[in-house]
Symmetry: C3
Subunit: 157 residues, 3 copies
């Protein structure tokens, strides 16, 4: 059983995850992860075939910090605004303070002329740690259905 | 009034509904329905005009099982991956252990080249039964706004 | 801390907001707002540059009632069906009975031939009042990322 407060914690961390990327608030976004986090972006095709190739791979929070630093500096020229719409999550318990979370996601991008398009579709396979009352992402696996990325993959999905 | 545990049950059954279709886990998907379930896919136009035509009609769980068997066997050649994004549900009580649920849905499809497109948009009008602590779909009415289906309607919406 | 009942109230008012627009039930939609409500639709570009221009501006509920009257009368010729899909909300407390809510939104439109397209993408910055146990929108700021509106902006976003 998942308690209402646990479900709320999961809904909150997913909402924060998408919102902080879309608003470019990457320092707060980093705070959502544990120090020993794993963050991977994998094309669905590779997952299905058991191939190890990733679009992005960070095996701890320092690698994610590096990524954000690079992004923040390169981002000056990023002319697209992302917008995450994350679906209702499936939640199952892995351990007393660890939940497995599965959710569909979509990312839309708008350009400087205010034209929007679908940018990415796929699913999140997450591990959310609840220790200490603050939910944290211990693992974030982004499975990209739309792996034919139509432009630069700069910001995280 | 809808209790937090009841809302959580509705969020969970909606999330399961979409996820299990997208992952092709149709046996578990069938478990979400009651034996006396009704499952209908109706173009919005027909509903508005009071026309009885459906894109899919199952009047009990055995009809749904047949459908899944056909689908599982034909599915070998299905080359699209669906992805459901279901919006926040409106919940109202019909009886002590029966809730009416209304939600917008979108289904995106990705092909084998990793190209994604919007496949279907509409709404769900559901009846969720709470008896025995396990939420089950007693009725699922899918109203399709985008009834000009751009390809085969194989998997359920 | 946000209590489960408070989070449920926010989820419910967001779901009602989108659903009642999509179903054209504007009288019930008006009931979601406080008398002293503010409703604004702002292109993201204007917000970023500090420009005051709005696509829609209602500074109290009477202005919103006027808007709905105009819409209901003009709507006879509206041949598109909107469908809101609203993402998981971020919720923070502003005062004992006032919550700040941030959420991504998408609106899809289907035409009379059943063809659907992405119509609008952006975010909601809301203030939800909880006084009296019934959640009400005291402020709704719609930030439109896709400000190149591809056709008439008749119905609210």
């Amino acid at each position: 059983m998942i308690a209402p407060a646990e479900r709320d914690a999961v809904l909150a961390v997913l909402a924060d995850y998408g919102w902080l990327i879309d608003e470019g608030r990457f320092d707060e976004w980093l705070d959502l992860f544990t120090e020993d986090c794993v963050y991977k972006v994998v094309p669905r095709e590779n997952l299905a075939l058991g191939l190890p190739g990733c679009l992005m791979l960070c095996e701890n929070k320092d690698m994610l910090r590096d990524r954000v630093t690079a992004l923040t500096e390169a981002n000056k020229y990023n002319i697209h605004v992302p917008r995450h719409v994350i679906g209702l999550p499936r939640i199952t318990r892995v351990a007393a303070d660890l939940l497995a979370v599965e959710a569909a996601y979509t990312v839309f991008q708008s350009d400087q002329d205010g034209e929007a398009r679908l940018f990415s579709v796929g699913s999140y396979l997450d591990r959310v740690q609840l220790a200490g009352g603050v939910p944290r992402l211990k693992e974030k696996l982004v499975i990209v259905d739309s792996f034919a990325i139509p432009s630069l993959l700069a910001t995280p999905l």
